[in-house]
Symmetry: C2
Subunit: 305 residues, 2 copies
């Protein structure tokens, strides 16, 4: 199966500490890399992971809180200083981050490549990136300031040709591409053989990954993330501190698990842990009582879909 | 002896790697802390060091290259988010960094304390900070963009009272402060006892620390740093790569040691190592052939004066 994996670079909140970096993940889909958020120190985590970022052409930032982007200008700057990058780099940011980041790149960096900044509206579902194999769209979140998550989706594969049938009807090699793309076949006598007789649907199940950080408990996201293979959902607090979650527009571990359960996702990964906890086990235990297939993220962890 | 020590938080150059952080040091003089430069990840190094920064009220930035200040906005932001600081914080930056940093603090932080930014001219020696015990002045450097080092100086101590003499001349307790500050004593008959008869000079030798990074070989600094107890001087390259040192306005280890020798300093500490070296031993060896009392900095190292 082609690669679809998430590398956790940072899963703490607010401030990088000795226990956790701030938010950052690398998403690898068929060897195309996407960086999601970029807290301070993200580049060091990337060097540590050993992952080569030459094939990383898109960076997505969820919102304008420093723990999600303070590592961005330094990292992009290092792509010149250390890697002498020349390929275009696409940066997708909420509208309110566009001007400040343009300012910083202008004042602090002399890049060896073209940086293309795409601002977007976080308040509605928007298709940001698409190619033949996959797409990325925003997931509107509820966090007090413009903020969204990202949904990474593989596309369905084309149907599989039935070689015996194609041969039996005398379809020449050069026409098989059209059949694969859905066409029927017209015989010399004018009879049309429907595509369904010449192909069988691919048994490939497109996979989906939803990144949802930061957000208050926000069941509006459920229809969009229904049935995803993996949901990363912030779980900043335990339920005993739910008042803080409400105050700061974050979620508890129980709320993250409730979203996962109600959206029938396959697996939940929690992160964005508050500084106040020295141990994430209680957060994990709390989530598991509601949604057993939950994992607590740690830096350096890879999750495969 | 009162504390005068340097804690090395980062001594690499250009980009933080797994081997080195970028430039940052904490200078502790009599338990007053001063942060010098603040590359990305400086705050994590500080938390790791266990040093409490409640008594750090001044930050000095040498120049506008990212490896010397990319950690500044994140760190200052964390003083609110993690430490709920309320004391004023003074930030000393070259003129060309003032506007961009004001922009960033305005857009990215809501601070719980007053941040006072003091821009300065790097092209001439300037007194930045002074109190009863010490002072900090700039050291003009040569680096292609406005750039300076910092000279931390203890002040001489007041002379020591000779108690027998003071008693013999009947000087009352309440007058001793004046004598300590240099006054003579007038007897009832009008005779003046000179201060030199009532006191003896303190045997305290004021210590000085010079931080010089980044700079090309720059002997103009020598008169200002003559005889300092410790010189931190960048040594980005080995002599074999001197062409690169010239090109990028940096120094070789031999040049750093030559400055140390010609300025008759007590001890040299080198740092700001280029990414191209996986081992600093050749840099240290090269410097020691010219100036034997050289140390190669590493993160976490403390140097006491």
């Amino acid at each position: 199966m082609e690669k679809f994996e998430i590398n956790i670079l940072g899963c703490g909140s607010a401030v990088p500490t000795m226990r956790h970096g701030t938010s950052a993940q690398l998403v690898n889909i068929h060897e195309k890399l996407f960086l999601v958020d970029c807290g301070e120190g993200t580049q060091t985590q990337i060097w540590k992971s050993g992952i080569r970022v030459t094939n990383m052409n898109h960076i997505f930032i969820s919102h304008a809180h420093g723990d999600h982007f303070f590592g961005l200008v330094p990292f992009v700057s290092s792509l010149t200083l250390m890697l002498s990058r020349t390929d275009d780099l696409h940066l997708w940011v909420p509208f309110d981050l566009e001007e400040p980041l343009r300012h910083d790149f202008q004042h602090y960096c002399q890049l060896s490549f073209k940086l293309i900044i795409h601002p977007f509206d976080t308040s509605r579902k928007t298709l940001l990136y698409e190619d033949k194999e996959m797409k990325v769209e925003t997931i509107p979140l509820s966090h007090g300031i413009p903020c969204c998550g990202f949904l990474f989706c593989e596309k369905p594969k084309l149907p599989v040709l039935l070689p015996d049938k194609c041969r039996a009807y005398g379809i020449p090699q050069r026409e098989l591409g059209k059949i694969k793309n859905g066409a029927g076949w017209m015989m010399e006598d004018g009879t049309v053989i429907p595509n369904s007789e010449l192909t069988t649907p691919s048994d490939f199940m497109p996979r989906r990954y939803a990144y949802c950080s930061d957000t208050a408990y926000n069941p509006q996201m459920i229809p969009q993330i229904e049935g995803v293979n993996l949901l990363y959902h912030e779980a900043t607090f335990i339920s005993a501190d739910e008042m803080l979650a409400v105050k700061y527009a974050h979620s508890t571990a129980a709320q993250a698990a409730t979203i996962a359960r109600d959206a029938n996702v396959e697996k939940l990964a929690i992160g964005h842990y508050s500084l106040r906890y020295n141990d994430e086990k209680p957060l994990l235990a709390e989530a598991k009582t509601i949604f057993p297939n939950t994992e607590a993220c740690q830096e350096g962890m890879t999750i495969s879909l």
